[in-house]
């Protein structure tokens, strides 16, 4: 096996950061004053994100000259881990912090970096992801959205789909075809698109629970100025591969159902758990502990400049399937009945997780795609 997981020991500074985030959350967002989220499935709250930005906890790895904290992937892991397990409203900054700022830093022009990164680090700007299309899901190179060169910019036409939070975000990074090529991985480019541009229409796609989480984004003759081409024209495929490679190994891939476990234990505090309850909560807690070590190890590898694409995919596969198993385990333990309308927080969380659970192993790379990536890493 060629996978390179190594046990991570936190430094004093990293432990201090953990304590600081815990204290901030206890102060800023006391339990019982908000409806906790399920991992990244949490409300968008611009003012909360701005508070995180003020603490230096968004775009943590960004250079100081762009408003970043110049800290690493492990630091970001520790902050995000605390936010997610707390059920904090992280959605406003979620995509911008996790991946948009990274690709802009890596491929953007100096002007783009100065324009976008400080605003992301401050929690002002929300981004979403413009990859999937009606006929291009896991097979991303099949995108049909097309940008044609016009005077001073690009004219963009096409449709993106499953775009999470498009109705709330400010910008998205669109993967589109800018040239025909024999190899369909060539001739793709990334454009930074203002969602309030003329010709951009966001059509909600009702989620199975009736809510509005993702949308279809139709772009009709949208003008994108030259200065918003991200990276090199024709290199969009490589840039996108990079964008997806490492974000997969983060704490959002195993913590989506932690609040469910914690709430179950809160509801049973002071009562003796039955044998099956001890067994299943113990099973879950042991796995949280174990998968967490793998996830943090991926982030240490990123800080060391390694390229843990297979390791990150492994964490996502293992972690997201576990998130789903947790739902089944707690549903087994619970006698009552899951409902979004329940008076019981646990029952509401259970209902929400049952309804959203299947998405865990789909979003950000399906299990089937991950298996291909991981097995390449095993050769």
């Amino acid at each position: 096996m060629t996978l390179g997981f190594e046990l991570v020991e936190l430094t004093e500074g990293e432990r201090a950061l953990q304590q600081e985030v815990r204290a901030f959350l206890a102060e800023e967002l006391p339990r019982g004053t908000f409806e906790p989220g399920l991992g990244m499935d949490a409300p968008a709250d611009r003012s909360f994100s701005q508070k995180l930005g003020a603490k230096g906890w968004l775009g943590m790895a960004m250079p100081a000259r762009y408003g970043g904290a110049e800290r690493g992937a492990v630091d970001r892991f520790l902050v995000v881990e605390e936010l997610l397990r707390w059920g904090a409203p992280v959605y406003h900054h979620w995509t911008a912090d996790r991946q948009s700022c990274q690709v802009i830093l890596r491929f953007g022009t100096e002007e783009q970096k100065q324009r976008f990164i400080p605003a992301i680090c401050a929690g002002d700007l929300a981004f979403c992801i413009g990859l999937s299309e009606p006929d291009a899901g896991s097979d991303l190179a099949a995108v049909k959205t097309r940008a044609v060169k016009v005077d001073g910019g690009w004219q963009l036409n096409g449709t993106k789909i499953w775009t999470t939070a498009a109705h709330e975000a400010d910008w998205f990074i669109v993967l589109c075809r800018t040239a025909e090529a024999e190899d369909r991985h060539h001739g793709l480019s990334q454009l930074l698109v203002d969602l309030s541009s003329p010709g951009v229409q966001v059509n909600p796609i009702p989620f199975l629970d009736g809510g509005h989480h993702f949308s279809e984004v139709v772009m009709t003759d949208v003008f994108v100025p030259d200065e918003l081409l991200l990276g090199e024209a024709g290199r969009g495929w490589e840039q996108t591969g990079n964008e997806l490679a490492y974000e997969r190994g983060g704490p959002d891939r195993f913590l989506s159902t932690w609040t469910l476990v914690e709430q179950y234990l809160r509801d049973h505090e002071g009562t003796e758990l039955g044998e099956r309850a001890r067994e299943l909560t113990g099973w879950a807690v042991a796995r949280f502990w174990g998968i967490r070590q793998l996830s943090i190890a991926v982030n240490r590898m990123i800080d060391r400049g390694l390229a843990p694409a297979a390791e990150a995919a492994l964490v996502k596969d293992l972690g997201t399937r576990f998130e789903q198993d947790v739902i089944a385990a707690l549903a087994e333990l619970h006698d009552g009945f899951a409902s979004l309308d329940s008076q019981s927080l646990f029952e509401r969380l259970l209902a929400r997780s049952i309804l959203a659970g299947p998405s865990y192993t789909i979003r950000g790379g399906t299990t089937e795609i991950l298996v291909g990536i991981i097995s390449k890493g095993l050769r």
Binding site: M1, W258, E279, Q293, L314, L318, L370, L378
Partner: protein, 349 residues
């Protein structure tokens, strides 16, 4: 955690050279592998982690577990865990001589009746590894007032030969008023002993899972059907990936649990390892097809050991209940922080 790479290279060489397919087969038939033992003992591997002052080879717990993991990779059919990390640890801790040659340990299974009555050992102990090949059998027993570490010569007991699924001796020892060769008060309770035993099995299992993953990746890359390597089929890739996940998860859990042997981390690691033993062997065998079911192909050396070690010193449900109890004893608001910190600093319960 830094283990001397030279130590690991040496251990790897010793076990790779001696734990051949034939040697493992012979060990099953004979009940011991003197060649493997001799090569390991010559360079002190069984006594790593036991202080030199007590007759050990020095080194710390992490070193000893790392060597054990290498042994697990090769299915070394010798009482390596028992000699140093278990019996050696108990004897040294009680101020008794560790001695030469292989030692073994009474693991203390439910239903055992061993006790010290008027200074003599009476009762039955089961699952004693390599009891007849050992120089001494060590146990923690009650004398009615407290726990004592005792050691006795195997010849003074009645040994009934029993093997685990991997053909490793896990003998039943009958004692009828046997005076122990050595005896001293023990600071280790049977619960602590079980935890330590579980830690040794986690290290062995981490090694076996690693080896199983490597073996299965290699086999499926070579084996061709329908004109291509079977590893090209997505359904086969899924087996390889699930197996690699189990190996990675248990590998890192073993490292974490070995750092300071905190109750929570050992319990969680054994829960993960025992559960992985089931899922990983299933995936590995399915990926190998009929070849993996033969005596000739080496997969069974690993899978039969994993099935055996899965249950030794507590199966997954035992340790999951234990983790559940530890979790329930923490205030829920502080549980995540406790888990993230591995319950370090929490008093062992």
């Amino acid at each position: 955690m830094t283990v001397d790479p030279l130590l690991l290279e040496t251990a790897e060489r010793v076990f790779a050279d001696t734990c051949t397919h034939d040697a493992l087969e012979r060990a099953e038939a004979d009940g011991f592998a003197p060649g493997v033992w001799g090569a390991a003992a010559d360079i002190g591997l069984p006594w790593i982690g036991v202080p030199e002052s007590a007759g050990g080879a020095g080194g710390d717990l992490a070193d000893a577990l790392a060597v054990l993991r290498v042994a697990g990779r090769h299915g070394a059919p010798v009482p390596l865990a028992e000699t140093g990390l278990l019996a050696g640890w108990l004897l040294a801790g009680a101020g008794l001589a560790v001695g030469e040659g292989p030692s073994t340990l009474v693991p203390g299974r439910a239903g055992d009746t061993l006790e010290l009555v008027d200074g003599r050992l009476v009762g039955t102990a089961r699952g004693v590894p390599w009891a007849s090949a050992a120089e001494r059998i060590v146990a923690v027993v009650t004398d009615g007032a407290g726990w004592r570490v005792v050691a006795l010569a195997p010849a003074s007991s009645g040994i009934e030969r029993v093997r685990n699924l991997a053909g490793e001796p896990r003998d039943t020892v009958h004692l009828d008023r046997v005076e122990p060769a050595m005896s001293a008060p023990s600071s280790v309770s049977p619960d602590e002993l079980r935890l330590r035993g579980a830690l040794t099995r986690v290290a062995l299992m981490a090694g076996a899972l690693e080896a199983m993953s490597t073996l299965t990746v290699a086999y499926t890359a070579e084996r061709r059907q329908f004109g291509q390597a079977v590893a090209r089929f997505q359904l086969v890739q899924e087996h390889l990936v699930r197996l690699a996940e189990d190996a990675a998860l248990v590998g890192l859990a073993a490292d974490a649990a070995g750092r300071s042997a905190v109750t929570f981390e050992v319990a969680a690691a054994k829960a993960l390892a025992s559960r992985a033993a089931s899922t990983a062997t299933k995936a590995a065998h399915q990926a190998h097809g009929a070849m993996g079911m033969t005596r000739e192909y080496p997969l069974h050396h690993l899978s039969r050991r994993l099935w055996s070690w899965r249950d030794e010193y507590g199966d997954e449900r035992h340790w999951e209940r234990r983790v559940g109890e530890l979790a329930a004893a923490v205030e829920p608001a502080g549980l995540y922080a406790a888990v993230a910190g591995g319950f370090q600093g929490a008093p062992p319960r």
